[in-house]
């Protein structure tokens, strides 16, 4: 066979891609330009006419893709349409809400509902902490040498059974040295938040580390209370602790509950597939975690500034209990459930 050059063959073997490109290329280019603008800046970079055109262009590109896949063998055309449609899809469907709306939804319903959903785990974590505290109190009450094994030296900072009553009294009523109150608050906030995030993430390992963390937290609490109680400073110490502790302990318990929710969802998925169950638990618990970090910010401020400037027991108790009541009311008072709460689930 010879490949003769047919001079008369103006009848070009027209392939589908050519016809298709000629008919639709202008639309694709417009969609491409709009998407590029949205990706570079945001939706607000488009004017009204463009926004109205966007869904139409997207659907026409999608139908182009379907047709091209079935009729055209031009691979570069199909690849181009695939990525164009994918980009358009994510710009139209996948983009998160604006920051303001997300924040409003979070404070309005997302956060309290996420915390409410964790009520069972929260109770368990509370019990664990209390059990730890009782055990810690009892251990130190029977044998003070336990105190040294529970509380590391660095954390005790001189507050150990050998300290005199005056020293201990000084730690709860004395002025902070150096006056770096705000720095102290910032340090407490970042440190505690990091620990809380750990407690949450560690829940993935079937909640075992989370449980240990909570128990240890309770143990050291109980040991400290016992130490001060033996010197007759129990009431003052609890007041010193309550002003920020009600918020901080609550936050840590919630972080533990969030971790526990994930661990149990992975271990016991129930009727769902394991991954689906993990995803549902993970998203809800993460919202609660974002709230925990905020609570710890409040606790850090109370601890770093409030505790050192307020010396009276009554005020300390008052502030601490008022905070606790406030949190409880915010989280657990019944509230109207919005139809589709994208943040919580």
């Amino acid at each position: 066979m010879s490949a003769l050059v047919d001079v008369r063959a103006a009848a070009v073997p027209l392939v589908n891609a050519s016809r298709f490109r000629a008919a639709h290329e202008a639309e694709w280019n417009r969609l491409d330009a709009l998407l590029t603008r949205m990706e570079k800046k945001s939706v607000r970079a488009l004017d009204e006419e463009d926004i109205l055109a966007l869904p139409l262009l997207y659907r026409s590109a999608l139908s182009s893709l379907s047709v091209a896949r079935e009729t055209s063998l031009d691979r570069s055309l199909v690849t181009y349409l695939e990525q164009l449609c994918t980009r358009a899809y994510f710009q139209l469907y996948g983009v998160p809400e604006s920051a303001v709306r997300q924040a409003r939804r979070f404070f309005g319903s997302g956060w309290p509902l996420a915390v409410q959903a964790l009520w069972r785990e929260t109770l368990v974590c509370l019990l664990l902490t209390v059990a730890g505290a009782v055990a810690g109190y009892w251990l130190v009450a029977t044998d003070t040498s336990w105190y040294y094994s529970i509380i590391p030296d660095a954390m005790a900072g001189g507050r150990d059974p050998s300290a005199s009553m005056e020293t201990l009294r000084g730690t709860i009523y004395g002025e902070q040295k150096g006056g770096m109150l705000a720095t102290f608050a910032a340090y407490l906030f970042t440190h505690n938040s990091q620990v809380a995030i750990f407690a949450f993430a560690l829940g993935f390992a079937f909640t075992v580390p989370t449980v240990l963390l909570l128990l240890y937290n309770g143990l050291s609490l109980g040991a400290m209370i016992c130490l001060f109680a033996q010197k007759g400073l129990g009431f003052g110490f609890v007041g010193w602790l309550t002003i920020h502790g009600s918020t901080e302990m609550f936050a840590i318990i919630l972080a533990g509950a969030a971790g526990m929710r994930i661990g149990t969802a992975v271990a016991f998925p129930g009727r769902d597939a394991r991954t689906e169950s993990a995803v549902r638990a993970g998203r809800g618990a993460a919202v609660a975690m974002a709230g925990v970090v905020l609570m710890l910010l409040v606790a850090g401020l109370l601890e770093g500034i409030g505790r050192q400037t307020i010396q009276s027991d009554a005020t300390r108790y008052g502030i601490g209990l008022a905070m606790l009541a406030g949190w409880l009311a915010y989280f657990y008072l019944p509230r109207r459930r919005e139809g589709s709460d994208a943040l919580a689930y």
Binding site: A3, V5, E70, T86, G110, R283, A285
Partner: protein
Amino acid sequence: MRWRTRRGQRPPATLRRSFVTPEGVDLRLELASAGARAGAFLIDALILFGTLIAITVLLVTAGIAGAGGEIVMILWLVGAFVLRNGWFMLFEMGGRGATPGKRLTGLRVVARDGGRLTGGAVIARNAMREIELFLPLSFLGMQASQGAADGFLTLFALCWSGIFLFFPLFNRDRLRIGDLLAGTWVVQNVRAKLGDDLVAARAQQPRRTFSDAALDLYGIYELQTLEDVLRKGREESIATVAATIRRKAGIPDDYDDVGFLSDYYAALCARLERGMLVGRRREDKHAVGR
């Protein structure tokens, strides 16, 4: 309890995933490769460290200059906390669903179910980074600073990190633990340019015609390979392919390889597309032609 096993219908080991839009079209998303993910993370980590060092230097000089040591300290503490936890979260919560590193490597985080990427999902996916990376590293760093990093501890921390670090390699969807928990995955999201129309480009010139026997040699796979060869335009591969086709079809050499291949491509494409319209799709040269 229900274990979902998929025996017998394993999806193929490619990174293409079926993803059907509400309009009913399968977008066939391409997942990010492990290499691209690692590259994106390295870029982010470098920027993070760079920023942290820059902030530290800036604040230290400010502190030396005497601008209230307390404020400097607070700024540093809070700044480091926000950088460490907020960098990935805030960028991924933004409209682009990608950190700067991911943007540079053309990646994007999306929800596996195709819905909106919620704040909860982004927080969950990045909070897990704490145990994947920062926990063993900070543990190691703390021990090392106290001179107590013995071999066993180092090994343990490295193993721990290694399990999480290489976790994406052990599942088909390249999911981190965080992705698993948040219901997200990371996909390629690059802009492609529409290549030139190979057929229309030569519409003005006279064309070669080919016999049916010459056009029956190949199927769709070979056609698209030929498309790649033509688009890349490397002379030696064009010469090799042209020689092979001429030999198989018994066509004498006319010393215009590009022209010959373009015409052959156009004719073969038109023929295969005609076949497709009447329901005869010939995947490759081994498939029966008609």
